[in-house]
């Protein structure tokens, strides 16, 4: 760690100025642009990743922190995790949570982005203010939402029953059937601004001439959207979905603050299970296993998605 962050970045720079010939020197110089960021990422992402992987094969208990001894125990942690029904359930919840969140965030975000692309009074101001939910620390959002969603005293239920939309209060966070949907709802709320901003930016980049040409061809709004907007927006869509997926799949603080994984484990996700194993049960080995599964799930989806959308992604060489 020490050497990685401190001394290694230097060599490319110094050798570049020194003995190497012009071609080699050029190449090194070019790498000089990229090397600091790469080294930083190796230190801040690569190193934890490797550490987590080794930890999942070790018997890592509180004692380890005192003695430094963490004997390797093969696949024992992995077996323990895979035998635990909670793990299978949480895997399923994670997928539902992620798919639901992304679908909601993206659809609403895109709809708002398209909507705000029209010119009307106050559109800029409203767009800026809409980002506010994103600014509030998640710990706080979760607390506020927990109050809003409370079965008996929550504002949402008093509004719904007041308007006679529901006959009895919805047990948002206290029923196993509804709680996961409620966490998805809150996460959609948090994610809309990010999706909207980035998709709006993407829309601004689509040349208006294309729309003019489309209008000459007599294309309707929906066809214009389908055949001009969506295809040209695809690279942005890819970035939004990939970033959204990766941040959603590992979500932890929101669920911890909203439901704590309950009721009856109905909102346990891979993120909360990792936390529970590592920091509540102090079973760091098993916690690391779930963490690795989380990373793996994420990686598999990312690779599949990026393969399918290769052209949107790698315009560089």
């Amino acid at each position: 760690m020490t050497t990685a962050t401190t001394t290694v970045p230097a060599p490319p720079a110094t050798t570049a100025g020194g003995r190497a010939g012009p071609g080699r020197r050029q190449a090194l110089l070019r790498w000089g642009f990229v090397a600091p960021a790469v080294l930083y990422m190796l230190a801040f992402f690569g190193y934890p990743l490797v550490r987590n992987l080794t930890m999942s094969f070790q018997s890592y208990t509180p004692r380890t922190y005192f003695t430094g001894e963490a004997p390797f125990n093969g696949f024992e942690n992995w077996r323990g995790v895979f035998d635990n029904p909670l793990f299978t359930n949480s895997l399923w919840h994670t997928l539902v949570f992620t798919a639901g969140s992304l679908l909601g965030q993206f659809t609403i975000g895109l709809a708002l982005a398209v909507f705000f692309s029209r010119r009307f009074p106050l559109s800029g101001v409203v767009r800026a203010v809409l980002l506010l939910p994103w600014l509030v620390p998640m710990v706080v959002s979760a607390v506020v939402w927990r109050k809003l969603l409370d079965q008996d005293t929550g504002v949402l239920n008093s509004a719904l029953t007041g308007l006679h939309l529901v006959s009895s209060p919805v047990p948002w966070l206290s029923s196993t059937g509804v709680a996961l949907a409620a966490t998805v709802l809150v996460n959609i709320w948090i994610g809309i601004p990010f999706n909207m901003v980035i998709l709006y930016g993407g829309l601004q980049e689509i040349p208006r001439e294309l729309y003019e040409a489309g209008a000459l061809d007599g294309a309707g709004a929906w066809r214009t959207f389908r055949s001009i907007t969506l295809p040209l927006l695809r690279p942005v869509v890819t970035v939004v979905l990939i970033l959204g997926f990766m941040s959603t799949v590992k979500i932890l603080d929101l669920i911890l603050a909203l439901t704590g994984g309950g009721p009856a484990d109905s909102t346990q996700t891979l993120g909360t299970v990792t936390y529970q194993l590592s920091f509540q049960q102090m079973n760091f080995g098993q916690g690391a296993v779930v963490g690795n599964v989380l990373i793996l799930v994420s990686a598999v989806f990312a690779v599949l998605y990026l393969r399918a959308n290769r052209s949107d992604f790698g315009q560089g060489k």
């Binding site: 070019r30 801040f44 600014l135 315009q315």
Partner: protein
Amino acid sequence: MTTPTTAPAGPRRTPRPVPGTPRPSAPRTRRSLGSTLVALLVLAVLLFPLYWMLNIALQPGESLAVTRWLPTSPGWDNFRRALSTQTDSLVTSLVVSLGAVVVCLALAAPAAYGLARLGLRGSRTIVFGTLITQMVPGIVIANALYSAYVDLHLVNSPIGLILADASLGLPFSIVLLRAFMVAIPKETVEAALVDGANRFTAFVRVVLPMSRNALITAGLFTFLFAWSDFMFALTLNTTDDVQPITLSMYEFMGAHVSDWGAVMATAVISAVPAAVLLVIAQKYVAAGVTGGSVK
């Protein structure tokens, strides 16, 4: 890999559309007024939870179980109590977040340029790797960093927190800036090189100014990520010396169990600096995002 049909590549062949006029249809007043109404309605729905937060903050001495819909007799007591304890933390948050922006941009901008334009072998792998980093859960990073930080004596130091917080924005910034820089016409940079500038000078004198908007966007997002960081603040500090607002609020919440008014006031206060920044820099938020020909 370069495909002429992708969006970032498109605009450079066409004149820049006037910002804010994406649709050719003539504006009709009634329709646009209707749009404003719809926009305000959307705003009201989406901001309701935040209104509720403010509502609670403005109702002094009330228990949440009986919150009224409107702060009919608003009071600033809660804010006064919150401000009296949170000022230091706000300053810490500001310093740390700005520091993270500097570190992040200093790393991301050259890297993005290198990945976009310098034809390095393995660029694609690096970009992919950059995306992959987003998968590593924060808690895994924080755990591993702690032991490394202890050896480096970076625990309880603002610099340590700045370095860690920069990681929150770095991958996003690299991806964003790279998408932007791919679209900067090769000819412009080559012209500078012919004029005798070396790659780095060309980068500083030509590429960076052209990427100004994207840099601001990346910086803004990094600032917001760092501002709302909780995990690193919690794990990389063992004392109260470096205590950003998120952590301070968490502790405040734990200690003032039933003082929801003050907790919510703290939350409102914590959102203000970021909100101000967002409104000031609003035009950059959308403008810089996808790259292309914004000048």
